[in-house]
């Protein structure tokens, strides 16, 4: 399933470029996606690594549709599916539930598409297909190791 299970021993990108974190005053819908998600390998947030930028998040409130495009730091990043999973879980936990009967955080009332930015990953189509398959996402979120890893990335307490 998600390649992350294999747990890479060394860092894939040992020296990432770290960008300044953007100041935010007003919380917009797009803030929910990228705010404070830690990179699986680095003590930086996805925003600081420019994996996610505000421009890469399109929100269509009328159709309850969210599209997130992320850019892995290197094109062979084996963490790409994990980053995508983190983004989805973050959205699941943050997006306002439009329906009272939404009882599980594995189901989203909004239509969310999470994609690797075109041309930024060696196996772009394969990564996108995995992130798009809700059955595989559901199965991944029942895997305790993977959930721990996602939770760690989403933990608010990081440097």
């Amino acid at each position: 399933m998600f390649q992350l299970l294999k747990m890479v021993s060394g860092l894939i990108n040992a020296n990432p470029i770290v960008y300044e974190k953007k100041e935010r005053r007003i919380r917009s819908a797009s803030d929910y996606a990228d705010e404070d998600i830690k990179d699986p390998e680095h003590p930086y947030s996805l925003e600081e690594l420019k994996v996610i930028t505000e421009d890469a998040i399109e929100v269509d409130d009328e159709h309850s549709h969210v599209r997130v495009t992320f850019t892995p730091t290197v094109e062979h990043c084996s963490m790409a599916t994990v980053i995508g999973l983190c983004l989805r879980v973050k959205l699941m936990r943050s997006l306002p539930s439009r329906y009272k009967n939404l009882m599980s955080e594995t189901c989203l009332s909004d239509k969310v598409d999470i994609r690797v930015a075109p041309g930024t990953h060696a196996t772009e189509a394969a990564v996108n297909k995995q992130l798009d398959d809700k059955e595989r996402v559901a199965a991944a979120l029942e895997n305790p190791n993977l959930v721990d890893m996602v939770d760690e990335c989403l933990a608010p307490t990081y440097g």
Binding site: C107, L108, E135, A138
Partner: protein, 357 residues
């Protein structure tokens, strides 16, 4: 009921069944109920790790949850299927097992657990006479099990061939031919040419190069005669296939399935479920929260049969529709299951009643 192609139809919501606490993945009508005074029974399975048994009974003829099958599967229950005799329910789970439940006077007992798959079991199907069971998994394999006396199940063969996650297995409605569809975008047809049914092999692979799907194939279903098949996919299309089943039934060897037509332009998100009613109506359920019905168009195209949309039920559910299943007995009844945690029972009704004969 004679089905009139030109009538105006609607799907009327009869009842919404609530109780599951996570998405409902799959549904199965008990084929032996709903006739001779036996109340109709429907099984549903969910991400909440349980299976629920629903019965339509009482003076109000409303649906109630009669039983909850729990504490057996430890993860999502992805699919369920009744044996043709209606006495057993098979349930496939992400916990890598398939459970067999026996109905003993209204109580359901887990009488067997089928182990062997390496990881998530995605689908389970009984053959037409109830002597065999097939399962498939993310481990890319399809297993055929023989039903032995005393609730024993023996693995007959492990079929390898898919290169990815196998999403669904489905037996042909009259013959012992097994179909599987996969994340590898193909449908594979498995068959055994000896009477002992021991030499199972893949006799056909339907892929993009032979008019097949260009993304994950989620489900397939057969018409009542078994000479046509419909498949649905993440490529947003439905495809219709046919084969010379008379040749196969008369023992003249395998007859391949060929593409009749592709229904595209109707869905704009993944189609998860398709089911062909005994009356010839194809229902589809998709990630756009809608249910669509299609029928063969009698316009007499020279290119062979064509299909048209009979109706689209927008917002059939609040979220993705994961399963649509026609009642095997009352042909107007359709059940649907959704990520919104509910099941809905629908009646296909005419908006101009004089056209319904």
């Amino acid at each position: 009921m004679e089905f009139c192609e030109d009538g105006n139809y609607e799907l009327r919501e009869i009842q919404r069944l609530e109780g599951h606490t996570d998405r409902v993945w799959s549904l199965a009508w008990n084929p032996t109920t709903g006739v001779d005074g036996v109340p109709p029974i429907l099984a549903s399975c969910s991400g909440d790790k349980t299976v629920r048994i629903w019965e339509q009974s009482g003076p109000s003829r409303s649906w109630h949850c009669k039983a909850i099958l729990e504490e057996t599967h430890t993860r999502t229950v992805r699919s369920c299927a009744w044996s043709p005799c209606g006495k057993f329910l098979a349930t496939a789970s992400f916990d890598a097992t398939t459970a067999i439940w026996e109905n003993v006077g209204g109580d359901y007992e887990c009488v067997s657990t089928l182990e062997g798959h390496e990881n998530e079991v995605k689908s389970v199907s009984w053959n037409a006479c109830g002597t065999m069971l097939a399962t498939c998994s993310r481990d890319k394999s399809v297993w055929i099990w023989e039903v032995m006396p005393g609730n024993e199940f023996e693995c007959v063969t492990v079929l390898q061939g898919h290169t990815q996650d196998v999403k669904m297995v489905q037996w042909h409605p009259t013959m012992d031919i097994l179909f599987s569809c996969s994340y590898d975008n193909t449908i594979k047809v498995w068959w055994s040419d000896d009477a002992e049914s021991e030499n199972w092999c893949c006799c056909q692979t339907i892929g993009e190069s032979n008019n097949g799907h260009s993304s994950t194939v989620w489900a397939l279903s057969f018409n009542a005669e078994g000479d046509k098949m419909v498949s649905c996919s993440d490529d947003l299309t439905l495809k219709i296939w046919d084969a010379n089943i008379l040749r196969m039934e008369s023992g003249d060897g395998y007859a391949p399935w060929s593409h009749i037509c592709t229904l595209s332009g109707y869905h704009d998100r993944t189609i998860f479920s398709v089911h062909w009613s005994r009356e010839g109506i194809i229902a589809s359920g998709a990630a756009d929260d809608a249910i669509r019905l299609f029928v063969e168009s009698k316009d007499g195209s020279i290119d062979g049969p064509s299909y048209k949309m009979l109706l689209k039920k927008e917002k059939a559910h609040d979220m993705d529709v994961n399963s649509v299943q026609w009642s095997p007995v009352d042909h107007r009844l359709l059940a649907s299951a959704s990520d919104d945690g509910t099941i809905k029972i629908w009646e296909l009704a005419s908006t101009s009643t004089e056209k319904m004969e």
